[in-house]
Point group: C2
Chain length 331, copies 2
DNA sequence: AGCGTGTGTGCAATCGATTTCTCATCAGGA
DNA sequence: TCCTGATGAGAAATCGATTGCACACACGCT
């Protein structure tokens, strides 16, 4: 592998000049520049980013740490980040923490030791120490999707409570009174906010919030399935279910299908997050849609701004959610 | 940010000793080691990976360059890679080339300049120059899912031709004679192999391979939709369709649904690749299943081996596919 | 006592780029 | 002709870690 010195020798100039030509910040005699670019082409030289990063103490990589790579919510969001990143001159690398705090911790450590230029993270726990580590080391950070108590970082969220309220109110308007909720992990802000929205809608309609109709699961398909089973087996069966994320909605549906219960006539269902190919699922699914791509885009914009102006107050962006009524909730 | 020299001063030893304690390759007086670890803890020191990478000229990052992050096939594969990577002491970063050769080229360049310890790539074109660039620079590479002509690299594939043959034969056995194929891009080995399997099955059964029944699309949902439209509008409508990947299968289904055609009674359909939540789609989809997780796992194993023993002949692993018969193909 | 051996530490070179500082060169004005 | 200022190129320091080499010290043997 050729180094900058090889190029310099080949072009009959100093390494400093090669560097200047490559970076283009300073003026160089066109004749020399020409010789340098020729030498670069001839030797197939590509600059060693590691050495450059060491000297300039910065990289052009953004790390995006997501909690579940298999959840379409995140993949769509990543597209939003990528589009902004590439136009800002950054490359995006994705890390999958798999809802596992230990893996998350490792990836944060890696982002720090690898001197990443920025980090977008959807925390898989409310364990704030790791994220604060990033903040302390002046690494630009944007927290996404999930709110962290006690962390003063730029954040992009969606209006979870409102979305859940819309979903629940819709189910009430359809004439349901026994409405269950399959909630997410208690320690995730998205989960608690959605649960709050559900409870708020019930209260608003003069209905009681019944703990027997609430199940806490893990935002995974399996968890949704088990929660639905539990709802059907224990206590009076609900007329309708609000599931607090996409994968759990799928799990709940699978449970209902497997038991031969008809949706929505036996049990109506509304999910949170959109689901790819929702049109092909029968019945089609009523869901609370989030602007996932936009979430990513805004997060990336915040990160880019934070990179150029590290100081300044943390911003908190909340994007709207909306109810997409389809077949699974209308009788 | 504390450096190794800060730690050394704090512990009253030389930087060399700190390094030796941190890496643990060489023996150090336990008393000194104790002082060093104490100093590390006290200063919150974390070693600068960039400097280390420069000196040792290697990193502990594997880049996985996939052609479509939104395709569940790849996300499942990534899990397989991650599991092996973490037990081999590597971290995985994901790059999304988005079926775009230019982006792919950029990510390969980034992998090279960032001195990645290894690369797993599912090429989005048959433009072999970039991949050869990796090989020449002795960066361990494993090509995955798609075969590249003229590239002598470790490769993990599935038996595409056999899978397509199974799918098509199954449709023939169900009594269909006019069987269409929605094929992928001509330049991708997966696409051509699947088309070959389709043609082979037809020939074997004494049926003609009719170009009017073949459409080339782009492995995307939209492409599948358009191809299906074209098949229905031009020429005699097919009795059955074999779609060469998961997203195009979805697109084709959506087209059929939208036109009010019943599956499988009007048109039977078999897809390639599994589809998440296939159980919830009505009718349930017959597909050719691939061992996606295993593909990732094997690729990662090859990469790990190549890292430790750079020389040696390139290996080519072909994993089996199998037909999962469900509702969309059986009358 | 003297020498050889082994153990462990520190010094300093090194990885490959960037960047400050210094200096040579040249143009233009007095 | 000489001086000044501008311009641009090269020499060398630097980023932070690793590691070959030399050396100091302790110990054991003759």
């Amino acid at each position: 592998m050729a180094t900058i010195y090889d190029v310099a020798r080949h072009a009959g100039v100093s390494a400093a000049t090669v560097s200047r030509v490559l970076n283009g910040h300073v003026k160089v005699d066109p004749a020399l520049a020409e010789r340098v670019t020729a030498a670069v082409a001839q030797l197939g030289y590509r600059r060693n980013a590691v050495a450059r990063n060491l000297r300039t103490s910065q990289t052009s990589l953004w790390a995006v740490i997501v909690s579940d790579i298999e959840n379409p919510f995140f993949t769509s969001m990543v597209r939003g980040i990528e589009d902004v990143a590439s136009s800002a001159g950054f490359s995006v690398v994705l890390c999958n923490s798999d809802e596992n705090p230990e893996k998350e911790s490792n990836y944060i450590a890696a982002a720090l030791t690898e001197q990443m230029a920025g980090v977008v993270i959807s925390p898989s726990s409310n364990h704030v120490d790791d994220v604060n580590l990033l903040l302390e080391s002046e690494c630009p950070v944007v927290v996404i999707d999930r709110e962290l108590q006690g962390v003063d970082a730029d954040t992009v969220l969606v209006d979870n409570a409102h979305g859940a309220d819309l979903a629940t109110t819709h189910l009430i308007e359809q004439g349901n009174t026994r409405i269950a909720c399959i909630a997410g992990p208690r320690w995730l802000s998205t989960a608690t906010q959605r649960l709050d929205g559900y409870a708020h809608a019930l209260t608003q309609a003069g209905l009681a919030v019944d703990d027997d109709l609430i199940r806490y699961a893990d935002f995974r398909e399996r968890g949704g399935y088990d929660a639905m089973s539990s709802l059907l087996d224990e206590g009076a069966a609900p007329q309708a279910v609000f599931a607090a994320n996409n994968l759990m909605t799928i799990g709940a549906m699978e449970c209902l299908v497997q038991r031969g219960l008809a949706v929505p006539s036996d049990v109506a269902i509304v999910g949170f997050d959109s689901i790819p190919w929702a049109d092909l699922i029968r019945p089609t699914l009523t869901t609370v849609a989030q602007p996932t791509y936009e979430v990513g885009r805004r997060a990336a914009q915040l990160l880019a701004r934070r990179s150029s102006t590290p100081d300044g107050p943390a911003e908190r962006v909340v994007l709207p959610t909306s109810l997409q009524v389809r077949g699974s909730s209308t009788r």
